[in-house]
């Protein structure tokens, strides 16, 4: 009976060591600039005014492509002062649900602040985070994830 128990101990120990090894052998990957730069999935608020901007993994900083797009949106919104918008913030599926809700809110807020700093009245813009709940591209691959890390500007009237 004792030796049986000892066997169990050593097996559990081996498992722990094995799993521990998995966690330490590999180096950490910190993903850098992997924001989507293509045009698939993009729609338009008006001619030449793309409706969405893309983000790098785990980031909410606006890329230069994003500020260009948001600049066009700001110009369009100022030319159409009765329009209101909601900025829908999204994350890719490779993250925990609750953190992604917060990340979506942070991304949408980054876009909102850029529009405000370019002269759009704050009371015309709402933010809504969907986290990873509404992917634009349902595939599980790097391209789809980059298309899903986005903030989409949607007209509400």
């Amino acid at each position: 009976m004792l030796s049986k128990n000892l066997n169990k101990v050593s097996l559990a120990l081996v498992m722990t060591l094995f799993l521990g090894a998995c966690a330490t052998q590999q180096a950490t990957t910190t993903k850098g600039d992997d924001a989507y730069t293509g045009t698939e999935t993009v729609k338009f608020l008006a001619d030449g005014v793309p409706d969405r901007v893309f983000f790098s993994t785990n980031k909410s900083e606006l890329t230069s492509a994003a500020t260009t797009t948001l600049g066009k949106q700001a110009t369009y919104l100022k030319a159409n002062p009765t329009l209101n918008v909601v900025l829908e913030g999204h994350a890719d599926e490779r993250g925990t649900r609750e953190y992604n809700l917060a990340l979506g809110e942070r991304r949408a807020t980054a876009a909102k602040n850029y529009l405000i700093s370019n002269g759009v009245a704050a009371n015309r813009i709402k933010v809504l985070s969907y986290g990873k709940e509404k992917p634009a591209n349902p595939a599980s691959n790097v391209l789809a994830w980059s298309q899903n890390r986005r903030t989409v500007t949607v007209k509400t009237n």
Binding site: A12, A23, T30, Y99, L101
Partner: protein, 446 residues
């Protein structure tokens, strides 16, 4: 609903439990030698009418007990056809040689008889075949339609007597049922017994619902809903169906959980790109802000004594796990391994915190001590998250997703359970895809 009314159960003679048992189950390590267990059919009192006889409870109750015990991974149920002694004499006075002959170490027997007003008396006895002694005996009084609940309670008593730990079979799991295409999933709250039986849908699917969590003290659930496109935390009484908005925040509230006494809800509130942790007292509606940091602070979970909180924050630059006192002071980072950490949840036993870890594009469910030491990864997969503890802190339920192809097909979520030891990983069958599971406390209390 049913769960409140029923069962009066009576301890009728527990005195035999003091006798020394030769058989016991060690559940602190991976159990590679499940305990051989014989669960005899119960015997039916001959005075029962045909209506009750037709229910076949004499075999259904033992089968459910067997299913529970086998799924725990700690017991190996022997086949009924190998049993030599019939149910009635086995219950009254087992011939231990007959049971030792088929190499069982434990025997469960039972008797079902009729009480006043159509109620049943279900009695079981647990025998140690090795030392030829009775370990425990109990009787439960119930209505016939409540036989599943009684079977779960008997399973808990057997588990408790043989492992020295509380059971977890008389409990339920709330989760999110998922149907429809990945770009527009229909999500509904659903609740079922811990063995997957008796699924009931609590919402219609008209709005997106996420992260339901059981109250540890009542039939309340807190969850997040996109009702009217406003993502907010709600409180739902699953007996009455009445729901309430939690707090009046000018923005998104999410990641709710109850305090251990069931009196408060702790959650995140997001505003201006910053998520902080708040509590709201359910009765007084008083709101308290616990963290104040420009980073994302979310996924809070109380320690079982209510004095500490663990949560997820990216204040270091990346998602990591932190603890703090329940007044928000003494914030400490506890996860220091490589990779990202999320969804910390404190064990009901108090010693461990379960979490999700993302490392090198794989997801892990793991546990660590509440000071961050002793990290142990239990399971690795393409995607899995959101562990929730069984009421005895020995088993975790979580959800796992498979990758989808370029048209979005194949990416379903399912519920899985795994032992704290990292062994005994099992799929929990659900009628639809399922995510965000949360285990209730024991329904019978304590």
């Amino acid at each position: 609903m049913k769960y409140k009314i029923f069962i009066i159960f009576v301890l009728f003679f527990i005195l035999t439990t003091k006798s020394f048992a030769l058989v016991s189950v060690d559940i602190t390590r991976g159990n590679l030698d499940p305990l051989p267990t014989a669960i005899s059919d119960f015997y039916l009192d001959s005075k029962l009418d045909d209506k009750i006889k037709n229910l076949k409870l004499e075999s259904k109750i033992p089968e459910l007990i067997q299913n529970n015990l086998s799924r725990s991974g700690l017991f190996f149920a022997l086949e009924k056809k190998s049993f030599i002694q019939r149910p009635e004499p086995a219950h009254n006075k087992p011939r231990f040689e007959d049971w030792a002959f088929i190499k069982t170490q434990v025997l469960v027997t039972g008797k079902i008889s009729l009480e006043k007003e159509g109620r049943l008396r279900v009695e079981f006895k647990l025998w140690d075949v090795v030392s030829a002694t009775e370990l425990s005996a109990l009787a439960f009084y119930t209505t016939p339609d409540n036989w599943r609940r009684v079977s779960h309670m008997i399973s808990d008593k057997i588990y408790e007597r043989l492992t020295g730990e509380k059971g977890y079979f008389d409990s339920r799991i709330i989760y999110v049922s998922e149907t429809g295409p990945k770009v527009d999933k229909k999500k509904r709250l659903a609740v079922m017994d811990q063995d997957g039986y008796g699924v009931k849908y609590l919402t219609l699917g008209n709005e997106l619902v996420l992260t339901p969590r059981f109250s540890p003290t009542s039939q309340h659930v807190t969850y997040m809903s996109y009702f009217k496109n406003l993502p907010r935390v709600y409180l739902l009484n699953i007996e009455t169906g009445i729901q309430d908005l939690v707090g009046d925040f000018p923005g998104m509230t999410f990641a709710p959980r109850f305090s251990p006494d069931g009196k408060k809800i702790i959650m995140s509130f997001a505003q201006e790109g910053n998520s902080d942790i708040y509590t709201m007292d359910i009765k007084t509606r008083v709101v308290e802000k616990l963290t104040d940091h420009p980073s994302i602070d979310t996924s809070p979970s109380y320690s079982p004594d209510g004095s500490y909180i663990t949560f997820n924050s990216d204040r270091s630059g990346f998602q990591q796990i932190y603890t703090m006192k329940s007044d928000g002071t003494n914030v400490k980072r506890i996860s220091f391994g490589e990779g990202l950490y999320g969804t910390p949840v404190w064990s009901p036993r108090g010693d461990l915190i379960a979490f999700t870890k993302l490392y090198r594009n794989k997801f892990y469910i793991g546990v660590m001590r509440s000071d961050g030491s002793g990290e142990r990864l239990l399971t690795e997969n393409y995607y899995q998250e959101a562990p929730s503890w069984a009421p005895n802190g020995r088993v975790l339920v979580f959800y796992r997703e498979t990758p989808s192809d370029s048209s979005g097909r194949g990416g379903g979520a399912k519920l899985w359970s795994i032992d704290l030891t990292g062994y005994n990983e099992r799929l929990i069958q659900t009628p639809t895809d399922a995510s965000d599971p949360s285990w209730s406390g024991l329904l019978s209390g304590k």
